[in-house]
């Protein structure tokens, strides 16, 4: 009962209230509740909410785009194909070949390309009108992607180096360290196998979470300050909203890039020979 109340409270967007400064009502600050949505529809106990809808629509958008661009590719590309090729080539050359080399990397190109465009589009929802919510600010989505990457590179390490080799790889086994070797191995093991997937997911999640919070903050403030002298501040806040949207566009691309860059880094570490 209480939860439902809270959810309905955060569903109440700033411009739907008549609450302004000097009217005797507090600032309806955004918070964790801004990231919780009422189910749009419930099918047999399964609650289908807005982020899920955005995730699926985004998926369709990516598939539609690449289908239109690459389904019947021409030797002399059309506009859409050219854009698709540019994006594809950027990830393939700029990320995969750059980190893994052409020979080793070729196998992982589809995975990394899919990962990049998936993350980017899920981030991009943050500034798409009406949607205006980055799917990746729900921890489940980055976590699932980080988990797939984690499984990929860990299994790859075992496949490449065998059990003992993989253990040495995870722990950064290096005889020359001497007496501190056990400690170094413990730290490396902890850092590689436990912290790495967590930071991989949280880096993306936290960036999108914070970005969304900032945009919402300035948006609500623009509305809330619209009274008396507050109007001047509202204008500043509105300008800040626009600036934050532009900044977010930048951060979204950067975070997608960082996510796949780290993915390649991990795969590269798994392929690397033990010292």
């Amino acid at each position: 009962m209480q939860k439902e109340l809270a959810v309905s409270a955060d569903q109440m967007l700033a411009f739907e209230t008549d609450c302004h400064i000097f009217d005797g009502c507090g600032f309806p600050a955004p918070g964790l509740h801004s990231f919780v949505f009422e189910p749009l529809l419930t099918v047999g106990g399964f609650e289908f909410n807005k982020p899920m809808l955005l995730a699926l629509v985004g998926t369709l958008a990516i598939v539609w785009f690449f289908w239109a661009a690459f389904n019947k590719p021409q030797l002399v590309p059309g506009k859409l194909q050219m854009v698709g090729e540019a994006g594809y080539d950027f990830v393939r050359r700029g990320v995969v070949y750059e980190n893994l080399g052409k020979r080793e990397g070729e196998k992982y190109v589809p995975f990394v390309v899919a990962l990049f465009f998936f993350v980017w589009v899920m981030n991009l929802w943050s500034v798409i009108p009406l949607a205006q919510f980055p799917v990746t600010s729900i921890i489940a989505y980055p976590m699932v992607l980080a988990l797939i990457v984690y499984v990929t590179w860990v299994s790859l390490t075992f496949k490449r180096h065998g059990f003992v080799g993989a253990f040495k790889n995870f722990t950064g086994y290096d005889k020359s360290l001497g007496p501190v070797l056990p400690l170094a191995m413990l730290i490396e093991f902890f850092s590689n196998l436990l912290v790495r997937p967590f930071t991989h997911a949280v880096r993306l999640f936290a960036n999108m979470f914070a970005g969304h919070l900032l945009i919402v903050m300035f948006t609500i403030a623009s509305w809330y300050l619209l009274n008396g002298i507050g109007i001047a501040y509202a204008a500043v806040s509105f300008v800040m909203t626009i600036a934050m949207v532009a900044f977010e566009l930048f951060i979204q691309a950067i975070q997608a890039y960082v996510f796949v860059l780290l993915t390649c880094n991990y795969i590269q570490g798994a392929l690397a020979e033990n010292h």
């Binding site: 209480q2 939860k3 109340l5 809270a6 959810v7 409270a9 955060d10 507090g26 918070g31 964790l32 509740h33 990231f35 919780v36 399964f46 609650e47 982020p51 899920m52 995730a55 699926l56 985004g58 998926t59 990516i62 598939v63 690449f66 289908w67 661009a69 690459f70 389904n71 019947k72 590719p73 021409q74 030797l75 194909q81 698709g84 090729e85 594809y88 190109v109 589809p110 995975f111 390309v113 899919a114 990962l115 465009f117 998936f118 729900i138 921890i139 489940a140 989505y141 976590m143 699932v144 992607l145 797939i148 949280v202 999640f205 979470f209």
Partner: protein, 181 residues
């Protein structure tokens, strides 16, 4: 009241604990994207990119082949020109040699002919001299005989005596000539 409700709700919402349904949706969504790109769309575009690269490289190769051919032809022409020059030089020197030989031959021929003419001249002179000597001997003999006949008064018409006398005279002459030499 509102703040209290929110606070209560926030206790339940830990943003770092993922709800299971969203994990499933996320996995599904990524799987769809990955599947389409991996199985269908990226192989499609890779094929075309390869074809394009081949087309471009084919063009470059063609240009290179044409360049190579042009170079070959140029080299061939240069070789031919050098050969022709060489040939001309050879012919010239050959002609010079032949000319020199010809001149030498002609000179030799001239020399030979001159020698022949000179030799023929000598022979002729010799023959003339002999003939003259012969004629002189006869005339001198006759003259001497006549003179002797007149002096001696004795006809030396008799042939045998005549020739004996002439011979003796001539022998005397020759002896004198040899002694005088």
């Amino acid at each position: 009241m509102n703040a209290l409700v929110q606070l209560a709700a926030e206790e339940e919402q830990n943003p770092l604990i993922p709800p299971i349904p969203e994990l499933v949706i996320g996995l599904l969504a990524f799987a769809i994207v990955f599947f389409f790109l991996w199985k269908k769309l990226l192989p499609n575009i890779n094929k075309v990119l390869d074809e394009r690269r081949e087309a471009i490289e084919g063009g470059i190769e063609k240009a290179e082949a044409a360049q190579q051919e042009a170079n070959d032809v140029l080299q061939q022409y240069k070789d031919q020109l050098a050969e022709a020059r060489h040939e001309a030089a050879r012919l010239r020197s050959e002609a010079q040699e032949q000319g020199a030989t010809l001149i030498a031959e002609m000179r030799a021929e001239g020399q030979r002919q001159r020698d022949e003419i000179v030799a023929a001249g000598h022979t002729q002179i010799e023959a003339d001299r002999k003939q003259a000597a012969q004629a002189l001997r006869q005339d001198v003999g006759k003259l001497a005989t006549e003179l002797a006949g007149k002096l001696v008064g004795e006809s030396l018409e008799d042939h045998a005596r005549q020739s004996r006398t002439i011979d003796r005279f001539l022998d005397d002459l020759e002896e004198k000539a040899e002694a005088g030499r």
